[in-house]
Symmetry: C2
Subunit: 306 residues, 2 copies
């Protein structure tokens, strides 16, 4: 079995570059192979950038899922942040750390997973870095563009806004709890871009830490409280009704749906669903008060790293 | 002693955000605290982006240098990639992974080091991420902007170009070999931007892996050979003359000087020094042939990760 150490740092980079191919985007001036990538934005656009780390043993487990699935999961988490800003993707950068003894196939499997989701999103891999680490980790940077002043933000919520969520919540966490390979969500990129163009939209965030946790982030940024009705949060097929599965719905992250607020006179769920091309449900509202989420059982706070 | 686990993920993020302060740049539309940062570029500019990981035990050692110095080193390495592209810095993102038991002061010391170099470079910390890892690591993403079509590149060298280097090489590696805290180089940002505006400039790279290794990267990208005269490479004060210290000059990285080529009719060392505001020395030339570096002793290849 070939190890990463058999091909070396530049051998691995060369293989990644070949898998990535020539970055096809019209927006890529210079891709993999220089000190940095160079990307083009259109006149009147602003640049959106986010970086996230994923560690084996924390964010993914090679014992429980294939390296390819782990790579997909890391890429989706990163691209989902672009979706939550309403940005169109320009490119991805991957800083990969691997032990020297790691099977080469494992490293390349992870990269293939990243590339699969990158291609789906129209975000070519334009750069990155390979280094030695005692465990496998990947830091993904996603770059996007958004029309000036139109970025969706967490801090734009107001008391009185209604709260909506796309799709359904809890599938990944439920599958994980069942010992199955958790569903890899899809970044809601098209819906995010449409949302950024709609009048009457308030704040927006993607559900990555869990509904209650992410709504908490939105409340703190917007300096408002929120009240949701857990019974109104859409559940995916296969998730039991009732309280038993409620924690997956409220605290399970990784579904990467969009959670957003709309002004009282803005569109309702039916119109939003039509505009966004996705199921949309109204699940509560923003209220005056200190930032907290009302209407949910205690302990529905979601994932914390420490 | 307080540990990272005492303040938690969001406590640590809050402390980092306070240390960073409000991102002061005119280019920052939205800094720390949302799903992504939003940055402004000027009309006619392209976006430059690079990401790099630094691991405790590989890129820095807390036993040998303070967390602050380690943070400075990581930031400088990232900003130096912008310098090598001729870009002006827009902002930095930091994805930090730390063990839960790490002293809080160590984590914040590292962040302070990053912020020190970020401020010097005029690159506000605009985002990032904190996660749990079994060792301390930091992934730094640097974002910059460059006038359209003016980015300095590794692949623009031609046979016949003369080779130049800014400053002096070998100080960091020499100090490290002596068991001292290695000098933290400075990213040559102003020089890079000036170089990007000069007529007659060919390829450019920053010296981070070592002169011979980085010149090798430049040769492969430009599909040319290079010949250098080691005796002409400037040595820093304190480095002995002669062969004994040659390996520090040829293979020592981290000095973050700029290595670039200039067409035969382009400016010479004296004019380049005046234009760039730095010492500049002519050290060799690019030649036709398969990509390799001639004129150096075998084994001067520099740092490899595997």
């Amino acid at each position: 079995m070939r190890r990463v150490s058999d091909v070396g740092e530049f051998g691995l980079i060369g293989r990644i570059a070949r898998l990535a191919g020539r970055a096809p985007g019209r927006d890529v001036v210079l891709g993999i192979g220089d000190d940095a990538a160079v990307l083009r934005v259109r006149p009147g656009e602003e640049v959106v950038v986010t970086t996230d780390a994923a560690f084996e043993g924390v964010h993914f487990r090679f014992g429980q899922e294939t390296p390819r699935t782990a790579g997909r999961r890391a890429a989706v988490a990163s691209l989902s942040d672009l979706a939550a800003m309403g940005a169109r993707p320009l490119g991805l950068l991957l800083a990969l750390a691997v032990p020297a003894r790691l099977p080469l196939a494992t490293a390349l499997g992870f990269v293939r997973g990243v590339l699969l989701e990158a291609r789906r999103a129209g975000a070519p891999l334009v750069g990155g870095n390979v280094t030695r680490g005692s465990e496998v980790s990947a830091s993904l940077t996603a770059l996007g563009a958004v029309p000036r002043g139109r970025a969706l933000r967490r801090d734009r919520g107001r008391a009185g806004d209604r709260l909506f969520v796309t799709g359904a919540l809890g599938r990944s966490a439920f599958e994980r709890a069942r010992g199955r390979v958790a569903h890899v969500g899809a970044p809601r990129l098209a819906a995010g871009r449409r949302l950024a163009r709609l009048a009457g939209v308030g704040a927006c965030i993607d559900v990555s830490d869990g509904l209650v946790a992410d709504l908490g982030h939105l409340c703190r940024a917007s300096r408002v409280a929120a009240r949701i009705d857990p019974a109104r949060v859409p559940r995916p097929a296969g998730l039991p009704e009732g309280r038993a599965a409620e924690r997956f719905v409220l605290a399970g992250g990784e579904d990467h749906e969009l959670l957003f607020s709309v002004r009282p006179r803005g569109p309702g769920a039916a119109e939003l669903a039509r505009r966004l091309g996705l199921p949309v449900a109204e699940i509560g509202r923003l209220e005056a008060g200190p930032p907290r989420v009302r209407g949910v059982p205690p302990g529905a706070g979601g994932w914390r790293h420490f």
